[in-house]
């Protein structure tokens, strides 16, 4: 099935999604990689607010290439999500609803997805130009010193994604290969 969603999202918005479905996501998406996640944890430890409203938010693990004059964004495919595993459960428990990246997640993240009714969606790894095509605006909102790892606020339109982890424990990285092998 294909679903259209707009951020911020609620648990109810995500409840129909199953591993293997596709999503066309619109609205605000925040970017953050390892370095930004680490700083967000330091803010939380110090009792400070995060740089964006986390409730119902979508975070995209990406470090785009620099945009040329006249371009909204450079190439912008996902980075490997596993590097965010140490940080994600805490953000999911605070209300983050959607993680966007590529690659496997650990058990703690998979459990936090189910506990919070959240989802993990895959962008197409290595398809930076295709992913950039759905971005309508970009603004660096925090930690500019991190360069490509700075936190950016993106507005996206019909951002093409695939459900990897769903709120019911489904995992496309297991069920997808298994279904293909069973078809042989």
């Amino acid at each position: 099935m294909q679903y259209k969603l707009t951020t911020p999202v609620t648990r109810e918005d995500l409840s129909p999604l199953r591993a293997g479905d596709t999503v066309l996501l619109s609205g605000v998406v925040y970017t953050a990689r390892d370095a930004a996640h680490k700083r967000m944890m330091e803010l939380l430890d110090a009792g400070q607010p995060l740089p964006f409203p986390v409730e119902g938010s979508a975070i995209y693990y990406v470090g785009p290439t620099p945009e040329r004059p006249g371009q909204i964004i450079g190439s912008a495919g996902p980075t490997t999500s596993g590097r965010m595993d140490p940080y994600s459960p805490r953000l999911l428990d605070l209300g983050q609803a959607i993680m966007i990246g590529k690659g496997a997640r650990n058990q703690a993240v998979r459990e936090a997805v189910v506990r919070n009714g959240a989802v993990y969606l895959a962008a197409l790894g290595g398809a930076g130009a295709l992913m950039a095509d759905s971005v309508r605006s970009l603004e660096v909102i925090c930690w500019e010193d991190l360069g490509c790892e700075a936190v950016r606020k993106l507005v996206v339109k019909n951002f093409p994604l695939t459900v990897i982890l769903d709120p019911y424990g489904g995992n496309l990285y297991e069920s997808g290969p298994a279904a293909y092998l069973a078809s042989l």
Binding site: P64, G82, K102, G125, A129, C148, A179, S183
Partner: protein, 279 residues
């Protein structure tokens, strides 16, 4: 003795950095198309088509194919009858600085692995230099992304493990990598040499075009067998399931010690980039 100016090396490296990041080598592009035609699983076929669309969009929109424009791995074959006027190594680094700046490519290097401050210009390059006969200078720039690099592995097997041990290690590496290295992947496999040499063999194997099998029929057959084993794992494009897990695999072997059987697997992605020029 032929003189080549350092400035010519810089300009060439800069041009190759941009070229490699904006268009796939013809053999990799052809392998992607071929895989699409041979893929029986619908979701996998759709995914491969999107990867094809990405290549077209990168060209139309003047964007790098992938946002991880990589560590600049530069391979130089230097003719021993060449005299370089100027600082050779600095010329290479300056070329990377220039190419990554002018090409709007991502600066992905940190100066120190533990203190992690970005160098700001994607330098230094990783330089591999080989002296060869003649008066030519051949430069290959192979930008390497780390989503796949991080999935690479090395083992010091026992001679008793033999070819079966090597096969097991390669297939196990792909299984462990799963969806992380952006499949369909491309593999460079090193066998033999020493601890450091075997990793260099694996990296160098990634430079060989996918349509060119190993010249030794023994290794050519091993490449084919491994490719078939890997493509029966079911991982598929992006790890969503399917036949197309690996587009190509190249082995490089070297003499080794009586007591050892080193093996290394350098994992690369469907955006395996390389561009070459001769001066």
């Amino acid at each position: 003795m032929r003189t080549i100016f350092a400035s010519a090396i810089t300009d060439t490296v800069a041009r190759l950095c941009i070229q490699a990041n904006s268009q796939l080598p013809p053999d990799v592009a052809a392998a992607l198309k071929r895989a699409n035609r041979a893929e029986p699983w619908p979701l996998a076929r759709e995914t491969l088509e999107l990867l094809q669309d990405n290549l077209d969009l990168a060209r139309i929109r003047n964007l790098p194919i992938c946002q991880d424009t990589g560590m600049a791995c530069v391979f130089v074959e230097l003719g021993q009858d060449v005299h370089i006027q100027g600082d050779f190594e600095q010329a290479i680094h300056q070329g990377v600085r220039q190419g990554y700046g002018e090409g709007y490519l991502r600066k992905s290097l940190v100066a120190d692995p533990l203190r992690r401050v970005n160098t700001g210009d994607n330098t230094p390059a990783t330089l591999t230099l080989r002296l060869v006969p003649g008066d030519k200078l051949t430069i290959t720039v192979a930008p390497k992304g780390f989503g796949s690099e991080n999935m690479s592995r090395l083992a010091m097997l026992r001679p008793a493990d033999g070819v079966e041990g090597v096969k097991q290690f390669v297939v196990e590496t792909v299984r462990l990598a799963g969806p992380n290295p952006c499949p369909p992947i491309i593999l460079g496999v090193g066998v033999g040499g020493s601890f450091d040499k075997v990793a260099a063999l694996a990296k160098h194997a990634l430079l060989r075009p996918l349509d060119r099998p190993h010249p030794d029929p023994f290794y050519a057959a091993l490449e084919q067998e491994l490719l078939e084993k890997i493509n029966s794992l079911g991982i598929g494009p992006q790890g969503f399931g399917g036949k197309t897990t690996c587009l190509g695999l190249a082995i490089e072997a070297a003499p080794t010690h009586v007591a050892g059987l080193p093996v290394a697997v350098n994992v690369s992605c469907h955006v395996t980039r390389r561009a070459t020029a001769e001066l």
